[in-house]
């Protein structure tokens, strides 16, 4: 049995249309019977479920983080941990017992190493929530929500992908479609490592293009095949130049999606645009994108 091709939708800059593109692709493949499993790797602000619908099957707490815990009974108030902590996450309280600051502690354990009285433990902490279910269109979907202020978004993304891959293997799915996070940091790196291809969504504005080129650099660094789609392309006279730069950076533009009020209207109703407005210009361009990707998939190229 061949493994599912894992395609990650990323953008560098946020709000340029990742979720619109991912949701539209998921919708097309559900109607064309291309077996796909959907994963939302934007664990900071997951939103794919708002457009694809989500029927919850399983929910579990992910405790992948670690935090220092000080036992006041054993603490000798020497302050060694406070001086050693590389993140400045320990502060001595009025009673002299150090108190970890929740948003600074990374649970590295340097404090435990230097504590002369064995008063510090490194304990597992809540990273977030992992959920599994199906979309309104019957596709299996895995999503997660990072705990506010947490460090380990990448670990949570890895869990999402592992779970989604297991489901894809079980069902013999052809495609694992991953909606990625904005940026190029921890959750994005974690969604790209080991995946097959990245689809970079960009708008023809200087800031979106910069973000797209940065995330492309990361995707190529990790050996992914790269493609791109230019969203709201007709809002800028600069679009041909943008398309050229994306292609030059190794991400040929598979489709040009025009600015279309239908996208906003569909989003406002929490539905994929091709479902509500199948003959809109945006839906037609998104269908071209879905077909281009499917073609690449059949050739075994992504």
């Amino acid at each position: 049995m061949s493994e599912a091709t894992e395609l990650v939708v990323v953008s560098g800059k946020g709000g340029v249309g990742k979720t619109t593109v991912s949701a539209s692709l998921a919708f097309f493949y559900s109607t064309q019977r291309l077996e796909a499993v959907i994963a939302d790797a934007d664990v900071d602000t997951p939103s794919l479920h708002l457009v694809l619908g989500f029927r919850l099957k399983r929910s579990e707490e992910a405790r992948l983080s670690k935090k220092a815990r000080v036992d006041p009974a054993k603490c000798v108030r020497c302050g060694a941990c406070v001086r050693t902590c590389p993140y400045g996450a320990l502060e001595q309280g009025q009673d002299g017992v150090p108190e970890p600051i929740w948003y600074l502690c990374e649970g590295c354990g340097a404090c435990r190493v230097v504590c002369p009285s064995g008063a510090i433990d490194i304990v597992p902490a809540r990273t977030g929530k992992l959920v599994e279910g199906t979309t309104r269109y019957g596709q299996p979907m895995v999503s997660a929500q990072l705990e506010v202020g947490e460090h380990n978004s990448g670990l949570l993304v890895s869990q999402v992908r592992l779970r989604a891959r297991a489901i894809a293997a079980e069902r013999g799915a052809k495609l694992l479609l991953v909606d990625g996070a904005p940026g190029i940091g921890c959750p994005v790196v974690s969604s790209l490592v080991g995946a097959d291809a990245a689809l970079v969504v960009a708008e023809p504005t200087p800031e979106s293009l910069r973000g797209a080129l940065r995330v492309l650099q990361v995707a190529r660094h990790f050996g992914l095949k790269t493609y791109s789609v230019l969203n709201k392309y007709d809002l800028s006279p600069f679009w041909q130049e943008a398309a050229g730069k994306l292609a030059e950076a190794g991400a040929p533009v598979l489709a040009l999606v025009p600015y279309d009020k239908a996208v906003v209207d569909a989003l406002a109703q929490g539905r994929p645009v091709p479902e509500l407005y199948p003959s809109s210009r945006a839906a037609e361009a998104l269908e071209e994108l879905a077909e281009a990707l499917e073609g690449l998939l059949k050739e075994g190229r992504p």
Binding site: K13, G14, G15, V51, P86, Y103, C108, L146, V188, T205
Partner: protein, 313 residues
């Protein structure tokens, strides 16, 4: 010394207009003669300079500790590899441990546990801090950029904010207002960017996605005990969506300071790399952004809210 007013422009979702609002408030306030420091803390994807048409200059590298192992002192005991919480060191039989730089978080546990004192201080670059200043104007930009391929955005945001606090602690700064353009999301990077502010201006858009992430952004502000205010961007793209945002705001006691309309002038400004309040000051978006700037100033500087002691970096 007068402590400046520190405003965090935040909001969970990417692309809702945090940078647009931050850059326009900064440009307008600076043009009104306030000494302004704009901090671009969206370290994954800093863009404020693009929107202002400025050319940033690298100020310094952001580095963390990385181990340098002295092969002569190392007894191959393997303690460092066993204790490394990130598994960045591999004990190789008969030779000194192999170091995987990509995994290292710079925590120094290896150095602390080495019984032979064989590990000394090395450095690994995570990114850099940059700076730009508008020619004659009173707007200064300080930002940081994560190195592509690196994952540790929170440390880069923290290093940037430490640099900002150092400048504020140093009388030379003399800023009236500091505006921090925060990254999207709810992670630690966002907390690092927001935690020194006195007031959070949350930005959202009137869509189900905007609404859902606004709730998350509110959680961050609450956890940091930051008073929060709201500005709705592209407020007129969905009447239904705006109503939902307004209902949430009312139920949370979150004052809505502005409803910025969708305006092609804002798109043109973004393409030109000039804030819309300067490029097309009479456009609907610019007028609402100016009004927002006035309200924010009233809230912060002019009403002289209780000023928090500056934290030592």
């Amino acid at each position: 010394m007068k402590a400046p007013f520190i405003l965090a422009v935040a909001g969970g979702k990417g692309g809702v207009g945090k940078t647009t609002v931050a850059v326009n408030l900064a440009a307008y306030m600076a043009d009104r003669g306030l000494k302004l420091l704009l901090v671009d803390a969206d370290v994954d994807n800093p863009n404020d300079h693009v929107n202002l048409g400025l050319e940033p200059v690298k100020l310094k590298d952001i580095t963390v500790f990385a181990p340098v192992i002295d092969a002569r002192k190392c007894t191959r005991c393997g303690t460092c590899a066993r204790e490394c919480p990130e598994h960045a060191l591999l004990a190789a039989p008969g030779r000194e441990p192999i170091f995987f730089e990509d995994r290292c978080s710079g925590c120094r546990v290896c150095q602390l546990v080495c019984p032979e004192d064989a590990i000394s201080e090395g450095h690994k670059a995570l990114g850099h801090i940059f700076r730009a200043r508008e020619g004659e104007g009173s707007l200064e930009l300080l930002g940081a950029e994560l190195k592509p391929g690196e994952a540790r955005s929170p440390l880069v945001a923290k290093a940037l904010m430490d640099e900002v606090l150092a400048r504020l602690g140093n009388a030379r700064g003399g800023y009236d207002v500091v505006i921090v353009d925060c990254p999207p999301g709810v992670s630690n990077t966002v907390v690092q960017a927001m935690r020194h502010a006195r007031l959070a201006l949350l930005i959202t858009e009137p869509t189900p996605l905007g609404l859902s992430t606004l709730k998350l952004a509110l959680k961050v502000a609450e956890k940091l005990s930051l008073p929060a205010y709201l500005a709705v961007n592209r407020a007129d793209i969905s009447g239904h969506g705006l109503k939902a945002v307004e209902e949430l705001a009312a139920s949370r006691g979150l004052p809505i300071l502005a409803r910025v309309p969708f305006d092609e002038a804002a798109v043109r400004a973004s393409v030109e790399g000039v804030p819309v309040v300067r490029l097309e000051p009479r456009s609907r978006a610019a007028r609402e952004l100016v009004r927002l700037a006035e309200v924010v100033l009233e809230l912060g500087v002019m009403r002289g809210q209780p000023q928090r002691e500056l934290e030592k970096p």
